[in-house]
Symmetry: C2
Subunit: 654 residues, 2 copies
């Protein structure tokens, strides 16, 4: 920042969107996303201004696209552009003196008032001389404008249509002013749009022996579960840590302090004598088993996401090999995690200030290994308890070599930290969605996610996690599960679900917001098949939701979400749309109406923002849940019975 | 802007206030102004963060001031600092690891829980070793913390108070992170705080002869009027253009097209054969007369502001000497002003694109002349019809040599242009205040001016101008004049009034928003004395308002305005405060309650934001209009009779 003001330019371009922190960080986008570019540009006096988006694609293709003045009072210009390449786009805004438009406007007004008629012909001829330098096609118009046999009005009528087209194709760009350049990092689709499922591989295929002890599931048995995941339509499968688990201060069932010999321990207490973050838990199998598991998943169209939890059990090899990566206390011992006076002695947190570059190299080495084994997605455990600059450096280094690698931040923390992690590189983040359950909360939050924070923060809407079983799910009954899955899958470009949700698991450990007998500390053998057979599984609904997403590309993006109105305090209405020009010529508009109160039947009117969706006075919609068709318009009656069907998912038929 | 993300730093400082467009333009401030600095700073985990304002004054004095965390959920830190020097301040935000605070907090918690007691003493001693490198005073505390004869709790109690003080005086600033530097341009007080009056010097002392013709007033006769201006308490006197007036297409009375020989013409049609912007109209006197006039004003504590209207009459010397400064049409004639099909043939607008640097030199030369004659304030006519970059270059050049020169933008235009003119250098601007008359409009606009736009846009609240006589004044009767002057003088750090307002001149030219028989086109002989004598002058009220401003420094600033609540749709409530530490030890709090409806008597409750003003449960206030005293609290009854007295101006007695 300088002592003198920055030069304002001939035509001040005083605001640009999208941008993040004045250009300090790149704007986030994904393949296929449609971005609305806007700029506030001003000029003195009454002459016409032209404003263009000048965008260069990752492969170097430059596009110039005229922007429209959408709000004259605010000097606001806008245009939409679809990003189709992965990589760094760079855009600038160009503003220039539109001499042709000024001349045409002035001439029309003056001819209508019979003022300066011949003079305006002369002015037109003078302007054509400028155009002539760029193209020989203009000379014919000079002849017409000079033709004394015609009245000035006749001359103008004769040239207007063609000349306007030719001028647009050969713009003079007099006094062009260019804004600063802004980078948009366009990543592969899964970076911001995916359907996530989470399971503990040790539970998949685990079984209890007659003596009560357990046989762990492993990657070989877990392969069998992949079909179940595919069947529900998910395309990312996230695994909690698969590494050896420490024995020292291991946690027992329900997070108790004294584990028995048969308790498997929390996968997040990483490391024992056999290895750390680069090793696989012996119970789960070999590296080859893991590789086979990844390949089997990929064959089914499922990518594997691994956990990256940068902490160690006291038994982790790092404790001996690299004690400088931990905090040594004044008595020479290594500091365990604590929130005084509470102690978490099974975990040694990393100290990032002692040897940042050494630790960075180690994590880089570990990630390179897993990337080599086919894992391109990492769910980062509690990134907000590690230093932000570590993540910035790590992600930048990895993405520089592997731009396809995706990091999901499990940052359940305050907004400034969550947003900053997004800005410095995390491709996506868990969000507050889990705790936004009422209509008003959802309207506010979905708007924030889709608009205010969309340039730097990409949410993944998880309905539950091993750490979170909300009161809404605990006490909302089966309809609550249906409502939440429907909102997450339809409103979120990315959404996620932790195993057991489809079985309506809703009993919490008393006083906590977690499942009782939490899978973090023990094996779970769930009978998904039986639940399906007795019709008490949500799996078919989940499959339907994911199918609807697949068939309606508009649902796969976040920035295109718009909320609409209902007269009922619990009925949420939102839509997503892809215009034909951004969807191979086909319009795709989906309107979702949902009763967020799982204990009620609601009847209300729904009011749509017609202009935003470019809707005609009346139109037909198809309910993608029931197949029913309705005639809709701006104001529509709905009746939503949470006990039967809490939602309409309506595709507009145009 | 770079392809890689900017380095986020050890402790991310993700938002700073004040700043303008991410540091692109300096922040505006005036001498004596109290600025609230805020920063959003984050750190991982639970250790304590210290945040400081590091500010360097124009003379090079650096101050470090600890900021307080005012909103933990938003990671927001704040502190207030008063700018007392004129020139460029530069500030940064510093965030560092507050090891001492972390140790003290952890030790207290652990001792209370009887955990790690001796360990925390050892940790303390280790920390003291770090402090010892900066000061020898810490060694005594090491001894106490090592003293085995005392319990750890006794040791802590013995050191805490003194050690905390010493640690604060010798901070370690471990892992310090510094934000980018931001410039604050602190200008002399009149740049943002003044009491303005406008008169046409040709009218001051003008008189009509028996034959109906006029004898023009001049600088000698106008000297007599200075006492009237001083008497009302104004400290800036703005003169419409004082240059020769063109004869070609001169405008007659009431803006008619055919002026008679005796019509003096509009002062804004500048230039005739005798001279242009560097000349004085012969009727007004000589350069010496002008110089004497300026000196006389200065002696009374009044600065003279001149008009800078960059346009020419067809008779201006520039038309012959520098035709390139105008637009030549295709027929070889010079373009007059027009808004097709309307023509303004008495005015030739400047073309800024033909010879920007030549024209810049000429205006620079002209300003240097007037600056030499003692004029340091310029009211710029219609800056939004000239190119923004011209103003940026001109103001920067002039202010570089004469930082005391002030430019007031007469930019009655759209927000983006008004704001940009402020950002690129205009010290202040006319505002929309004139058209904000209802309570709701005023609450919104005063908040915008005092907070949202205060860093770059300094308003001058004019109640009228020769161009603006609003419907509110046309139809509100005398109470309307009293209401508007009271709001402008109390709410505006700068306010202004055009001659005749004090006489309640309220008749408009039909169909226009201007006074009938507008002074722009003719002489006005007003009898201010007679009006005073028959008690039909607002001058005594204006004098009182300006006196109240002078005696209550809080009223002289803009950023300190806060609006409060009333239950009535017309009763506006706002306050301004200077805390004792920023006002020589004396608190100055003024609460203004005003009935904005000039046709009514209103009774209502007024509700104050007590915490914002640091007010006790009950307190005494003195009405500075009537001298009455009241007992006030959070909720107060008021009765305001617009026909008698529409306002309370209450000084809080602490």
């Amino acid at each position: 920042m300088s002592s003198a003001s920055a030069g304002v330019g001939r035509f001040p371009i005083v605001a640009l969107d999208p941008q993040v922190d004045g250009g300090k960080y790149p704007v986030k986008a994904i393949e296929g996303e449609v971005i609305t570019f806007s700029a506030t540009c001003i000029r003195e006096g009454h002459d016409k201004l032209a404003v263009e988006l000048v965008i260069v694609s990752p492969s170097g293709k430059q596009t110039r696209q005229r922007m429209q003045q959408t709000n004259a009072g605010l000097d606001l210009w806008e245009t939409k552009f679809q990003l189709l390449e992965v990589g760094s786009y760079r855009y600038r805004i160009s503003a220039w003196d539109d001499e042709y438009a000024t001349w045409l406007h002035t001439t029309k007004v003056k001819l209508a008032a019979s003022v300066d008629e011949e003079l305006m012909m002369l002015e037109g001829i003078r302007l054509l001389e400028k155009f002539a330098k760029n193209s020989s096609k203009f000379s014919v118009f000079t002849k017409i404008l000079s033709d004394n046999k015609l009245t000035p009005l006749e001359r103008l009528s004769k040239v207007e249509t063609e000349l306007t087209e030719l001028a647009a194709a050969n713009p003079l760009r007099n006094l062009e002013t260019l804004s600063d350049e802004v980078e948009i990092r366009c990543e592969r689709k899964l970076a911001g749009s995916g359907k996530w499922y989470e399971f503990f591989p040790r539970s998949e295929g685990a079984h209890q022996k007659p003596d009560g002890s357990w046989v762990s599931g492993n990657f070989k048995t877990a392969v069998q579960s992949l079909e179940r995941v595919r069947e529900m339509g998910f395309n990312v499968l996230y695994l909690p840590p698969i590494h050896p688990i420490g024995k020292t201060f291991r946690k027992g069932k329900n997070n108790t302090l004294n584990a028995s010999d048969t308790d498997p321990g929390s996968p997040w207490a990483i490391g024992d004598a056999t290895g750390g973050h680069d090793a696989i838990h012996p119970d789960l199998g070999t590296e080859k088993d893991f590789k086979d598991f990844v390949k089997s998943a990929n064959k089914l169209g499922i990518e594997i996401a691994m956990d990256l939890a940068l902490q160690a059990s006291p038994d982790h090899p790092w404790v001996k090999s690299n004690p400088q990566w931990f905090t040594t206390r004044a008595d020479g011992t290594i500091a365990y995690a604590e929130n005084p006076p509470k102690k978490y002695q099974d975990i040694y947190p990393i100290n990032f200030d002692n040897d940042l570059s050494g630790f960075l190299d180690e994590v880089y080495r570990i990630l390179k290994k897993w990337i080599g084994l086919g894992v391109l997605i990492y769910r980062v455990d509690n990134p907000h308890t590690k230093t932000v600059e570590f993540w910035q450096k790590l992600i930048s280094r990895i993405n520089h070599e592997h731009p396809e690698v995706i990091f999901l931040a499990e940052a359940f923390t305050k907004p400034a930290m969550m947003h900053t992690l997004g800005k410095i590189g995390f491709q996506q983040s868990y969000s507050y969605f889990t705790w936004r359950n009422t209509k008003d909360e959802l309207v506010d939050y979905l708007n924030e996610l889709s608009h205010q924070s969309a340039n730097f923060f990409r949410p993944n809407l998880w309905v539950n996690t091993p750490d979170i079983l909300t009161e809404y799910l605990q006490f909302g009954g089966k309809p609550a599960f249906k409502v939440r899955a429907t909102i997450a899958a339809m409103a979120g470009a990315s959404w996620g679900m932790y195993s057991g949700f489809e079985l309506y698991e809703s009993v919490a450990r008393p006083g906590s917001e977690e499942n009782i007998d939490n899978e973090k500390y023990e094996y779970k053998a769930r009978d998904f098949e039986a639940a399906l057979k007795r019709d008490s599984s949500l799996a078919p609904r989940i499959r339907l939701l994911n199918e609807i997403r697949d068939r309606n590309p508009a649902l796969q993006y976040q920035r295109n979400l718009e909320t609409h109105y209902s007269d009922d305090s619990s009925v949420l209405v939102f839509s997503k749309r892809l215009e034909p020009k951004f969807n191979g010529g086909k319009d795709n508009t989906v309107i979702v109406v949902i009763n967020t109160d799982p204990h009620s039947v609601r009847e209300t009117m729904v009011h749509l923002k017609m202009q935003q969706l470019d809707l005609p006075h009346t139109f037909e919609v198809e309910d993608l849940i029931t197949g029913e068709r309705f005639e809709w318009g701006e104001h529509n009656f709905v009746r939503l019975d949470s006990f039967k069907e809490p939602a309409h998912i309506l595709r507009v038929i145009r």
